[in-house]
């Protein structure tokens, strides 16, 4: 449990956009800026943030779907940030992804068999019958009947599509799965079923999850540790229970207090009301200092001048804020 599976140090992913006449000027979009994270074997690490926070980009960069701009990634002790070609392929089979939009994730022109068997076909040379047997097994793992093999995605419900996506991610016996908001397109009654399935699979196959979400109620229930992101940077990370009990960063507190809850008991759990004012700055043009300063109600003069340093405030609890340094 305590063994490290993945570690990142100063991981950055920038996108460059040409602008100005003839594209002479280049604007930099810092989608992920100096992310330091540790992922332990068998745990679920949640990446939380609102749209544009860079959580999906971070997830995709960690498993090398995107090529990092700067920084280091270790996977089981091996530095994988700059590996390419066959070496990269070797690591990638252990790192899979489940996407947010189950409709876009499945090719509408392919049968479920083709979709789930794609990883097997690219990595192993199995005969057709064996392939089919393996896909049937995978379907069973995600609780779908075997007669789904020859269906096309349009004949499946959103929940079933997401199960197919999960089956595909499981095909190569991965160690790490990045789950990018796997339930945000689903109704709550279906979401609960998918979350239960993911939890069962994690235990059964000793999987490690990076769970990307904007829904804090879900994160609270399924993750061991949580990292909160704002405008490309991690602002706070801690054990999930600690984070919900004593959120420190003003943004974390605002985020928690904004959760629409449904019972009085929950009301007691969330911090007092904070309403954020102001607008999120454009990610192409982030002012100096703390990224959150423009919306922070507790900002000090230093916040608009210097980037906040990392502060360790407890066991495995880190916060990037001037108030705690």
């Amino acid at each position: 449990m305590n063994q490290l599976l993945m570690k990142t140090e100063g991981l950055c992913k920038y996108f460059f956009r040409d602008s100005g006449l003839l594209g002479r000027e280049q604007k930099v979009l810092k989608a992920v800026d100096t992310a330091d994270l540790e992922v332990k074997h068998g745990e679920t690490l949640a990446l939380v943030g609102e749209s544009g926070s860079g959580k999906t980009t971070l997830g995709k960069t960690m498993i090398r779907i995107y090529k990092p701009t700067k920084g280091k990634i270790w996977f089981e002790g091996d530095e994988i940030c700059s590996v390419e070609g066959d070496r990269l392929r070797h690591y990638r089979r252990y790192m899979q992804m489940v996407f947010q939009d189950p409709t876009s994730a499945l090719n509408p022109r392919k049968t479920v068999l083709d979709i789930i068997s794609l990883p097997l076909r690219t990595y192993q040379n199995l005969p057709r019958t064996e392939l089919r047997e393996r896909v049937k097994e995978l379907l069973e793992m995600v609780e779908l009947p075997p007669d789904f093999l020859y269906r096309y995605p349009h004949a499946l419900s959103a929940g079933q599509k997401q199960r197919v996506g999960i089956a595909r991610a499981l095909a190569l016996n991965p160690k790490l799965i990045v789950l990018d908001e796997p339930t945000s397109a689903l109704d709550v009654s279906v979401q609960a079923k998918i979350l239960a399935l993911l939890e069962r699979l994690r235990r059964e196959f000793q999987l490690t999850y990076i769970y990307i979400s904007h829904d804090l109620s879900v994160v609270k229930n399924i993750s061991d540790r949580t990292a909160v992101m704002y405008l490309g940077q991690i602002v706070e990370s801690a054990l999930t229970d600690n984070l919900f009990e004593s959120p420190l960063h003003p943004y974390t507190r605002a985020l928690l207090s904004a959760i629409p809850i449904i019972s009085a008991e929950e009301q007691e759990v969330i911090p007092e009301e904070i309403t954020l004012v102001g607008e999120i700055p454009s990610p192409l043009d982030v002012p100096p200092g703390c990224n959150f300063a423009s919306r922070c109600q507790e900002k000090m003069p230093i916040c608009e001048a210097d980037e906040p340093p990392l502060a360790k405030v407890g066991n495995d609890h880190y916060v990037w804020c001037h108030r705690y340094s």
């Binding site: 994730a105 090719n107 794609l118």
Partner: protein, 290 residues
């Protein structure tokens, strides 16, 4: 619940047919095309005087108006016009198929590569495409045929030469939108080969707009082929090609009206058939084609 889904599965083909049936015009188009294909295939058995398709001469029967013996009349050397029009369908359909096969075969891969790879590949392919698109197709085809020997093969080549850029554009646009889909990213992250991603994952997603465009273009290609024939740049006499037939009959208008009229009607009907079917397919697949 499961039963409902089974019903939907099983009913897919029936449903497609049902939807297609709702549009009677496309059914008319489909029947016209089927009829044309049958006529072209079995031309030697259907035509009353198969020998007249070529350079036969029957001076005794020249310039006969439509009658029981020659339903479409006869031409200046006494050949049966009906037989010649029937044989003309072979040439027009062959021309359409060849032109579009070449255009699709060249244009689609180029568009796919340009859209998928982007950067320099895109710049080169799409600029060449733009150059071709900036010249009116008939003018370009005229220029090409003027350089080459005047025969059917070269006229097909000339038309195909002007036609592929449209398919490159179609494939390019479709690829740009499809490559953003997550399933492409999945295949990429699994290290599937680029050719597999392009032809195995992206290409199948453009079959509907492609099918619609091909159907609509069949009519236009046949029309362009007939235009070249009419201008004397396509198939040469005595081959019975519709455009050539119209052109040859033109000098005898209006007295010997049957010479040009029936081949003209054949062109009209065929083009109409493909357009009706194409429009029907467009509604059916609900796709936008430029």
């Amino acid at each position: 619940m499961e039963q409902v889904w089974k019903r939907k599965q099983k009913g897919n083909l029936a449903r497609a047919f049902h939807r297609f049936k709702k549009n009677p015009l496309s059914l008319i188009g489909l029947s016209i095309i089927l009829m044309m294909v049958l006529i072209a295939t079995f031309a030697p058995f259907i035509a009353p005087y198969p020998g007249d398709a070529g350079g036969a001469v029957h001076f005794k029967e020249m310039f006969q108006p439509p009658s029981w013996k020659h339903s479409f009349g006869t031409d200046e050397v006494g050949r049966d016009v009906l037989s010649r029009v029937i044989f003309g369908s072979r040439i027009s359909l062959t021309l359409g198929i060849v032109v579009l096969s070449v255009a699709v075969g060249v244009g689609i891969p180029l568009g796919l590569f340009a859209g998928y790879f982007g950067g320099k590949v895109e710049a080169i392919i799409m600029r060449i495409t733009d150059v071709f698109l900036s010249i009116p197709p008939l003018v370009l085809a005229l220029a090409v045929t003027a350089v080459l020997e005047r025969n059917l093969q070269n006229s097909m080549l000339a038309i195909a030469f002007t036609w592929w850029p449209w398919y490159a554009r179609l494939a390019y646009g479709q690829t740009l939108s499809k490559k953003e889909e997550d399933f492409v990213e999945v295949s990429e992250s699994l290290g599937a080969s680029r050719l597999y991603i392009i032809f195995g994952e992206i290409l199948p997603n453009m079959t509907s707009p492609l099918l619609v465009k091909i159907t609509l273009d069949m009519g236009y290609a046949i029309l362009t082929g007939a235009a070249l024939g009419f201008l004397g740049l396509g198939a040469q006499p005595p081959t019975s090609e519709w455009g050539t037939l119209v052109s040859l009959g033109r000098i005898h208008l209006p007295k010997m009206w049957w010479l040009s009229t029936f081949s003209g009607l054949a062109i009209f009907t065929t083009v109409l058939g493909f357009n009706l079917l194409g429009d029907g397919l467009r509604d059916f697949f609900d796709v936008e084609v430029e």
